[in-house]
């Protein structure tokens, strides 16, 4: 049976490191603070928010919640972002997306100060991921995939990684980050011909399509490392990944490995967010 790559050891290691760095910041008189922008009250957002607040508290990171009614409108959103940019006591900002219908999400992403863009939602941050130049943070989920591989000592260099999904939140940035680490990277998507064969040929697979249990044993081969980034709700209301876990587990073999959902990459993403807030606070000259 494959190794199960739980998020916990990675989360614990990031917490240990984070505690030290926050203590060092506080010694310098800096209290790291994360702003959260939430429009409306979608259950997904609320659930992530609770985790983020708990994680921040455990590290001594402050949280400032900017909560808008669903019909608050673009101007109110831009005003909130403007306040966050102007407030030297805020080091990073998480904005829940997608925004409700009627909001200009791109304008909001671009309005955020790139130095506070700890989830890599603006063009400046994404340009850095693509070019390796400039400043900015990578999207947290993409960075969480690399934390997972590094944390479990899985080599990246020279490996063939197949990324399924090409969003700007995860697929494209994780592909570029793995390329930077000398992986050979293939990006697949809904139009890919013969997807099972392409995925089967990989050493490492990143599933990031948001399709509940869509990838079963026909997609995998023995010895593969599967990072399942999907967080989906099945018909019974249970959380599940993009992989059909039980089916995949059966073919990956003793040399293979797979991240579970829940208790896999999801929680690591929140820890990476905190890491980015700490780094933003370390970089700021306040």
């Amino acid at each position: 049976m494959p190794r199960i790559l739980a998020g916990k050891p990675i989360i614990d290691a990031l917490k240990e490191d984070g505690l030290k760095r926050v203590a060092a910041l506080k010694d310098r008189g800096i209290d790291p603070v994360l702003a959260i922008v939430r429009i409306g009250a979608r259950p997904d957002d609320l659930s992530y928010e609770r985790t983020a607040i708990k994680r921040a508290e455990a590290l001594g990171i402050g949280v400032r919640l900017f909560q808008l009614y669903e019909d608050a409108g673009q101007d109110a959103l831009m005003k909130a972002i403007g306040e966050i940019n102007a407030d030297q006591g805020i080091h990073g900002c998480l904005m829940f997306r997608p925004l409700p219908a009627g909001y200009d999400e791109e304008a909001a992403c671009e309005a955020l100060d790139p130095r506070k863009d700890v989830d890599g939602i603006g063009r400046a941050a994404l340009a850095r991921v693509f070019t390796g130049r400039g400043e900015g943070f990578a999207p947290c989920t993409a960075a969480a995939c690399l934390e997972m591989l590094d944390g479990y000592g899985i080599a990246i260099e020279g490996k063939h990684v197949v990324v399924v999904g090409r969003s700007l939140v995860i697929g494209r940035p994780v592909a570029m980050m793995l390329l930077e680490r000398n992986a050979t990277v293939t990006v697949c998507h809904s139009r890919t011909e013969n997807l099972p064969a392409v995925v089967k040929a990989a050493d490492i697979v990143v599933l990031a399509t948001g399709r509940a249990r869509a990838y079963d044993k026909t997609y995998f081969s023995p010895g593969q490392i599967v990072l399942d980034v999907g967080i989906n709700m099945d018909e019974d209301g249970d959380l599940c990944g993009d992989a059909d876990f039980d089916s995949a587990e059966g073919v990956l073999g003793d040399e293979g490995a797979i991240t579970p959902v829940p208790r896999g990459i999801g929680g690591v993403t929140t820890s990476v967010l905190m890491k980015h807030v700490i780094e933003a606070a370390q970089r700021c000259e306040c």
Copy 2:
């Protein structure tokens, strides 16, 4: 034997279209102008410059040459870029790279007004290629690959494209542009394990490593489309591509195709540069 994908028909089609668009611009009182920034007098740069000037003249595009001595220094270079940015009569700028030792190339690339960055050298342009958001032109060589495929009616959607090389001038941007067109894209490089097998599995191959005749028949399979972006000088001083053309030609078969070097993609790149200058002039509000 494979089809030889010469640049000429593509260049001719771009010229025909360009002439019409320049005429329409002149009717509006706009004379499109390209600035060329050259430091020193490297034979490669001079050769490309001659082609660019000839191509511009044939289309009625003006050229302003900003020529600096090799030891002119960063300040002089930044001053030239500042002049280009400020001059409303200049619509696009080509800067020969790599810059000589001692120059800060990144600073120079970022200083250029993104609206005039017709060769996609700045972060803003590259961010657009990566994210599909914002404004800016793709690097000309990357765009030339797509012109070639489209011009010869070669389907991209769903095809597996293997890009060998990951530079910001060609490898990474062409990968993103092909992904945008719904290809499945693999990016390879010097650390890729078992490169011949990976390249052999492609429907379309883009060679962009600048290694003279490095890829022979062991890399190719029947029916493949090979775009050879390399422009190298062999031991005899003759131009050649990254592919070992004669060897590759032998295995691609009647269904395959390959671009020659010279008279392949190189000349199309110059035509794309002119296309971008015309588009920049069309967009400007002068």
